[in-house]
């Protein structure tokens, strides 16, 4: 029999439904793997083995008591959570020293929804501190390694979740995407990463980074697996006033509709000088495959693409500076005593935050400060409108847009840590979609000469996850990239 951990989420679910395997067996198999493999990958910050086995036993009991009809969609399936999502009573550090000992008194809505669907939680995965980064090297605890080549980064900031899924140390995982933090690590780790539309998934219990951009996303081995996950976590939540009260479609129902007759736009601004040639040729080949499958390929323009990077790196830090003002050592988190109240705040923040978080707080505070607000924050917010209009125009004429997810495959650990701007350029293809608040997905579309995965990005209109997933599934089923596994898995 095939190793249990190598199954897709969907296949594991089928085995559970046929009672050929129990959730306790699946969960134990995963935990056993993690104990050996994760010494090298370092995807997890916290493991919750007792909790997981307890939840698995509960899932098995629930299944034994079920009559006919469909069981909850994730009953007994072991998953991982990025350590920026609150899980009641379990450390939620956000990869930061300032929250090293924080135990949330509640769980995020998305986590509650996973639990209501019957999921088993294996643990919390590594992240760049407060999700600020593109390599998971900004974690205050340790970097995560790419399962395809342990000397390389898994991407970030949801690098722990992507690496855990790639190394078959979870059947799926949740991450968060503010400027590409689900899609980019998915591309670098050769898995599927879905960033839903802003407002599709409740942000209640997702520790805030940049509130107009943050969105919880899914990492999975296949498009169908990602579809099952988004189906479980999407929906309106009265506790998040930015979650949108629009019905959640049955995403699985339209997954197999194919791409015949769909109009797929290729934005010409995503093929820049500096893009790795193998990435460009893999994406061009993927576009040809979609054409063979019956899609109509249309050349489109998103003329303000080059401005997405400066816009994002003013708006996101500005929002972060405001959000992270809450870490003052009074209500939770690290607390350093100072000479007076103000000195205590400053010492707490100086010692609790790492370099990238401080850099972004400084940048954001500057962009919002008197005399600079108009030139930086306001200007960026106006250009954000131009970027949104680009997408509105392009998507008026197309069902989805396709482009590379990243300009290069996974880079070496330490390669870009010395130059923040070089690291920011890693996000150049994912930022615009985040600024427009739309949905997007990355899935494997090839490998470079060194055997490192390449990501294809599929971008869709607001609340049109169904079409993005449908195109991705059609491409995936026509290719074999998703069947490759890292050697260590």
């Amino acid at each position: 029999m095939k190793e249990l951990a190598h199954l897709t989420l969907q296949d594991a679910r089928d085995l559970l439904c046929r009672r050929e395997v129990s959730s306790v067996e699946l969960t134990q198999a995963m935990l056993d793997r993690i104990l050996t493999l994760d010494n090298d990958v370092k995807a997890y910050l916290t493991l919750t083995p007792e909790l997981a086995l307890e939840q698995a036993a509960d899932a098995d009991r629930i299944r034994a008591g079920l009559g006919a009809g469909d069981p909850p969609s994730l009953l007994g399936i072991p998953l991982a959570l990025k350590d920026i999502l609150c899980l009641e009573g379990v450390p939620t550090t956000c990869g930061s020293r300032i929250l090293e000992d924080y135990l949330p008194p509640f769980s995020a809505t998305a986590v509650e929804k996973l639990r209501e669907a019957g999921a088993v939680i294996l643990g919390k995965t590594n992240t760049d501190e407060f999700a600020m980064g593109s390599s998971t090297e900004n974690s205050a605890f340790f970097p995560t390694h790419n399962p395809w080549d342990l000397s390389r980064v898994p991407g970030g900031s949801s690098g722990g979740s992507a690496a855990a899924v790639a190394a078959r140390m979870a059947f799926g995982a949740l991450g968060s995407d503010t400027g590409g933090s689900v899609r980019q690590p998915a591309a670098l780790c050769g898995v599927v990463g879905l960033k839903p539309t802003y407002g599709r998934v409740s942000r209640w219990g997702l520790v805030a980074f940049a509130s107009s951009l943050d969105q919880i996303g899914c990492l999975a081995r296949t498009v169908a697996d990602a579809t099952i996950l988004i189906g479980a976590i999407a929906g309106y939540d009265p506790r998040d006033s930015t979650s949108v009260n629009t019905p959640v479609p049955n995403y699985l129902a339209s997954l197999r509709s194919g791409v015949q007759g769909l109009r797929i736009g290729v934005p010409r601004e995503y093929y820049l000088e500096g893009i790795q040639l193998e990435v460009e040729s893999a994406v061009r080949a993927a576009i040809a495959t979609l054409a063979e499958l019956g899609a109509e390929i249309i050349d489109v323009s998103l003329p303000h693409t080059e401005y997405a990077l400066p816009v994002y790196y003013l708006i996101a830090p500005a929002e972060a500076a405001a959000n992270l003002a809450r870490y003052d050592g009074v209500r939770y988190g690290l607390s350093q005593q100072g000479g007076d109240l103000w000195d205590g705040y400053r010492q707490t923040r100086e010692q609790g935050f790492g370099p990238e978080v401080k850099r972004r707080i400084m940048l954001g505070t500057y962009a919002l400060s008197a005399g600079y607000y108009d030139a930086y924050y306001l200007k960026a917010s106006q250009v954000r409108t131009l970027i949104r209009r680009d997408f509105d125009r392009a998507l008026a004429n197309c069902d989805v847009l396709v482009a590379p997810t990243t300009p290069t495959t996974a880079f070496k650990l330490g390669e870009k840590t010395g130059d923040p701007l070089q690291m920011y350029l890693e996000d150049v293809f994912t930022l615009a979609l985040s600024l427009a608040g739309l949905c997007g997905l990355s899935l494997p579309c090839g490998f470079d000469q060194m055997g490192l995965p390449i990501g294809l990005q599929i971008m869709g209109g607001a609340f049109d996850e169904a079409t993005v997933l449908r195109v991705a599934h059609a491409y995936e089923q026509a290719t074999n990239w998703h069947k490759r596994m890292p050697a260590i898995a």
Binding site: L103, L341, D343, E350, F353, I361, K379, Q382
Partner: protein
């Protein structure tokens, strides 16, 4: 344009960060280079373009004013360094007032 040391120190004060001298100098270099990159936005004419603060249509979200259970105070205070009388305890803010 390179930021002055005084500007960086002023921003650190606004952000409530007690930066070391070494950090102040490093951020001066790095912020200057990131802001120089952002200068390209000035090339765009945005005089008639409204700002985007949120991608959602702006509307008030109202609910009935009903009482819901809150977290137990003990749970809320459990993560705080100090609590007293169901409150967070903080250092003295105003001195000399009785």
């Amino acid at each position: 344009m390179k930021l002055s040391l005084a500007q960086v120190e002023h921003v650190a004060e606004l952000a409530q960060l007690a930066l070391t001298e070494e950090e102040t100098e490093r951020f001066r270099e790095q912020l200057s280079s990131i802001l120089a990159y952002a200068e390209r936005l000035q090339a765009l004419d945005t005089a008639d373009i409204p700002a985007t603060a949120t991608v959602l249509p702006l509307e008030n979200v109202l609910r009935d004013d009903t009482v819901h259970p809150s977290l137990p105070v003990a749970d809320v205070l459990a993560n705080a360094p100090a609590g007293e009388n169901n409150c967070f305890r903080v250092p003295v803010v105003l001195e000399g007032e009785a």
